[in-house]
């Protein structure tokens, strides 16, 4: 039996406190890229009772994703936006989910992201990471931006850190472990970085801006 909305809110409030939960419920967070980082960030944020998620990815679920991304074997071939919003609806049925099955570019980023309070960058391609950081910080001043760089390989999860580079710009990861130059991506290490990003979002919403 699925709990009703009031029961879910009461359960969130019992754990997060009424005041903080109000802020989490009122927030809109965009997740750019729904791979190992983005699928895990989305699940953590929906479990925390974030009011609305904007999920953006152009890709489909592939067998090569299943070792670290929050999809199921029976979802191979589905657009990630569709598969993830389905999985989120089972976890947190009252989180509002807006999906865009498109590639984010310099040209469409402002339109896609202007409704978000906080933007999480969760791409795998370093060029796309740099493009989005530059575009958001230049064209959407005042939005909090939580990016990621360096979470590949089998190195210690203790190397994964959150840095606050400037007032609105946070960066999670070890900064150096690049896919292709190490052993590949491991679910738990990618999840550790995604957890840094998701928790940074929650701390920002709680007014805890330091790292």
């Amino acid at each position: 039996m699925i709990p009703n909305k009031n029961e879910m809110i009461a359960a969130y409030e019992a754990r997060h406190g009424k005041e903080l939960q109000k802020k989490l419920s009122a927030a809109t967070v965009a997740v750019c890229g729904l791979g190992g980082l983005g699928s895990n960030i989305s699940i953590a944020l929906s479990r925390a009772g974030i009011g609305k998620l904007i999920l953006i990815d152009f890709d489909k679920v592939d067998i090569s994703n299943l070792h670290r991304q929050q999809y199921k074997a029976n979802q191979i071939g589905l657009p990630k936006t569709e598969a993830l919003s389905c999985n989120l609806s089972e976890i947190a049925p009252y989180t509002v989910v807006e999906t865009h099955c498109v590639k984010i570019t310099e040209e469409n980023a402002v339109d896609l992201l202007s409704g978000a309070d906080i933007i999480c960058e969760a791409f795998d391609n370093p060029q796309a990471k740099a493009m989005l950081a530059n575009t958001v910080l230049e064209k959407l001043p005042g939005k909090f931006y939580v990016g990621a760089s360096g979470m590949a390989g089998i190195g210690s999860t203790n190397e994964i850190k959150t840095k606050r580079l400037s007032k609105f710009f946070y960066l999670c990861g070890d900064g150096v472990s690049e896919v292709g130059k190490s052993e590949g991506l491991f679910a738990a290490r990618v999840m550790a970085c995604a957890a840094h990003q998701a928790h940074t979002v929650i701390r920002i919403l709680a007014g805890q801006y330091d790292v």
Partner: protein, 64 residues
């Protein structure tokens, strides 16, 4: 002296573009903040570093 990625560097008087080129960064993979403000790629060549500036060059690596 300019503080670049947390370290003191003698880069007074050179431009952001000159620093990036001399340090072998690929501009496609970076974001640059000067005194906590993003520097647009179009302004790398015209932005001159001066004593006391704090420069952060973020070099993104692949994986996600």
């Amino acid at each position: 002296m300019v503080i670049i990625n947390g370290e003191k560097v003698n880069a007074d008087g050179i431009t952001v573009e000159q620093y990036i080129k001399s340090s072998d960064y690929n501009t496609a993979f970076i974001a640059v903040e000067l005194n906590e403000d993003i520097v647009s790629k179009a302004n790398y060549a015209s932005t001159v570093l001066k004593d006391g500036d704090v420069l952060e060059v973020v070099n993104f690596v692949g994986g996600g």
